[in-house]
């Protein structure tokens, strides 16, 4: 074993380490995808795995996403635990039929006889100056597909923990990796044993009493920044990082909203039909009489992801979040 990184580590390194540890612990774990072998992936997240475990364990596939996911289904049928890398969010779409019609349903179709422990790693979201088709936020599609778990880390430690959990899960897990956090660092130490995060648990990243920002993935750091900035306005914001979109942690989210009485859902994905609608609706269903104001949403616009030079106008930023917080009817008029 070679040393992967010194602390602080990046999210990309934590993901690499998670796969490496899983592959070392369990010979049935196989990584496959485009350029994941020799190159180590276009984001270098699989760096070194082919060298350490051989090309049969970390395989450069032909360039065909349905083929990648479809063969992963067959490998999982035979008892392997494939970890599939989709090179970019939009390039997972060719595999959509395999995902929806097989990956998500095989356990159910076979009354549990044929579970598919497949991890599907999807780099998602924008903010990296990528040209079209390289910055989609596709979580709405996965969310609406029963049979999939959908998780997304916002911290280096969670990247490790959630990927380990995904690989260990007997069910298919879509791991949405926020591209623009790949190179974010924190003090996670890759040389020390690190927790496997149970899938389905949100976490309060910052406590506050005025209102709750409900968010995940790439928007978590933005919300934390907004919460800091909000202090100047006299607001003490709580930030909940969902981490898992499916299953959804109603308990943690609702406990927070009941405490604060106000909430804003923040995500980069388009607003219309996006995760925010589901989240706002379920929070409202459960916390209606605790709400001082409707749950608001700050999301990407309902447009195809913009070209690099315009993306900053699209991405939910601190100002837009504070603006929404300001509209939470602090002087309730009825």
């Amino acid at each position: 074993m070679t040393t992967v990184a010194v602390k602080p580590a990046t999210m990309a390194q934590a993901l690499t380490r998670a796969m490496r540890d899983a592959m070392a612990a369990d010979p049935t774990v196989h990584v496959l995808g485009e350029d994941v072998g020799t190159l180590g992936g276009v984001f270098r997240v699989t760096d070194g795995l082919a060298k350490e475990f051989g090309e049969d364990r970390c395989t450069d596939t032909p360039l065909a996403e349905a083929g990648i996911l479809g063969t992963a289904v067959g490998m999982a049928m035979y008892g392997l635990r494939p970890v599939v890398e989709m090179q970019f969010d939009a390039f997972a779409y060719p595999a959509f039929e395999q995902l929806v019609s097989h990956v998500a349903r095989m356990r159910n179709r076979t009354r549990g006889a044929m579970p598919l422990p497949i991890t599907i790693r999807v780099p998602y979201g924008g903010g990296i100056g990528g040209v079209e088709h390289h910055s989609d936020s596709s979580e709405a599609y996965y969310l609406a597909t029963p049979g999939l778990h959908v998780v997304t880390p916002a911290t280096v430690a969670d990247a490790y923990g959630l990927l380990r959990a995904a690989i260990a899960s007997d069910d298919p897990v879509v791991l949405l990796e926020p591209k623009r956090l790949y190179w974010s660092k924190d003090s996670w130490n890759p040389e020390e044993p690190t927790a496997v995060e149970p899938i389905g648990r949100a976490v309060v990243r910052r406590s506050g009493r005025s209102a709750t920002l409900i968010t995940y993935g790439p928007s978590v750091p933005v919300c934390l920044e907004a919460a800091e900035a909000a202090r100047a306005e006299g607001w003490d914001l709580e930030v909940v990082d969902l981490r898992s979109l499916v299953p959804f942690d109603d308990e943690t989210v609702c406990a927070s909203v009941r405490r604060t009485g106000r909430a804003v859902v923040v995500h980069e994905s388009g607003g219309f039909g996006g995760p925010g609608g589901e989240i706002a609706a379920r929070v409202t269903e459960r916390c209606f009489h605790h709400l001082e104001a409707p749950v608001l949403r700050v999301a990407g616009f309902d447009i195809p992801y913009p070209p690099p030079m315009l993306e900053r106008h699209h991405l939910p930023g601190v100002d837009r979040i504070l603006d929404a917080v300001g509209r939470l009817q602090w002087e309730a008029e009825s």
Partner: protein, 376 residues
């Protein structure tokens, strides 16, 4: 780099990476489909195998007829019959070892049954009480697959996984002529060839994809010719000649087992009945064509061969039919019983553990059923 620098670099002949890596000639199918029955090759066929094929064909034909009858009685939601295609169905099942895997499409319940699956379990999907009615691991039969061609990459992945594990397992995947047009067909065959996976692709070219005839499906010389584009051999076989289908598949299985990689087999056959009981085939084809094909019937072909050669007498024929009737009677009886269903199963298998959301929904349905007095 400027243009100038290039001038010294002149080398008229291209780098050696250009040599074709495989010779295409052996990959190309013969112009005529391979036949055994009624040809000289028949003499070399194993009589025991032929008799076994015969018994299964007779049983298979009866199975198809019984299943179709069950749709009329409302006991099956729908049935895509393989009548006329029994030679392919049966040969595909018989050519495999127990440890091998079969990947059937929705039309291939017969292949699953011939491989040993309980017909009632094989028909669960089409009866409508659950999706897959059997544990795929038990007989190594993947779930009947409805989204066309999507089962093909599964077969490749499974075969590849087995090979990586060092297991001697071959996967045989079945698909229709229409299914060959799907992207998944292409991707599966390409992966199989690149990985040299031990998998055999059996295309049953039965002339139609629902109403669409082959000529609107492809302009290829034959579907087997698609093999060369992946670097695997393509074989063309008379799909109504059970002995020929078995032999061609057996060759392909042997090749796969020996590490020789995948094969694409096109079996030319005909869908004698409508696409399913819900289809009206008279809308798109004439009786004459059907009649032509009925006269090239897989059972008749094999029966003729066996009786001519004295390998089958009237008693043998009767025995095969009696066995088929016994199967049919049993099937009829068991399919006439209403399946016992638990609505709570809706939530039981979505995940290993139901999510909190599903637990809520299960409780809701439970409460509704109790209110209705319909507690399971």
């Amino acid at each position: 780099m400027t243009v100038m620098e290039q001038r010294d670099g002149y080398r008229p002949s291209p780098p050696p990476a250009w040599q074709p890596r495989t010779d295409p000639a052996p990959l190309l199918p013969d112009a005529e489909p391979y036949r055994v029955l009624g040809t000289d090759a028949a003499a070399k066929a194993d009589p025991g195998l032929l008799r076994r094929l015969y018994a299964e064909l007779v049983r298979g034909r009866r199975y198809n007829a019984q299943a179709t009858a069950l749709t009329k009685q409302g006991r099956l939601a729908v049935y895509p019959s393989s009548t006329g295609q029994e030679a392919c169905e049966v040969a595909a099942a018989l050519v495999l070892e127990d440890r091998d895997w079969l990947f059937p499409s929705y039309r291939d319940t017969l292949a699953a049954v011939a491989r040993g699956l309980d017909p009632v379990q094989a028909l669960t999907l089409l009866r409508g009480d659950w999706h897959t009615g059997y544990d795929p691991h038990e007989h190594r039969v993947a779930p009947l697959c409805t989204p066309l061609a999507t089962q093909l990459p599964h077969a490749v992945g499974l075969a590849h996984a087995a090979r990586l594990k060092g297991d001697d397992v071959v996967a045989l995947a079945m698909v229709g002529d229409g299914g060959t047009s799907e992207g998944d067909f292409h991707e599966a065959l390409n992966f199989a060839a690149v990985w040299q996976a031990p998998v055999v692709f059996l295309v049953q070219n039965n002339g139609f994809a629902i109403s669409v005839p082959l000529a609107k499906q492809t302009a290829a010389p034959s579907l087997a010719h698609k093999a060369v584009g992946y670097g695997m051999p393509g074989r063309l076989v008379d799909g109504n000649d059970a002995a020929a289908v078995h032999e061609v598949l057996a060759d392909a299985v042997r090749r796969a087992r020996a590490g020789g990689g995948p094969t694409l087999v096109e079996a030319i056959t005909y869908r004698v009945e409508a696409h399913t009981n819900a289809d009206d085939a008279t809308r798109y084809r004439g009786d004459a064509e059907v009649e032509t094909w009925r006269r090239h019937d897989p059972i008749a072909l094999l029966e003729h061969e066996l009786t001519e050669r004295g390998l089958l007498d009237d008693a043998g024929i009767q025995a095969a039919r009696d066995a088929a009737e016994t199967m049919a009677a049993d099937l009829r009886e068991r399919m006439n019983q209403d399946p016992v269903l638990d609505p709570m199963d809706l939530f039981a298998h979505v995940y290993a553990e139901p999510t909190p959301q599903l637990r809520e929904q299960r409780a809701q349905l439970q409460a509704e059923l109790e209110a209705e007095g319909e507690t399971p």
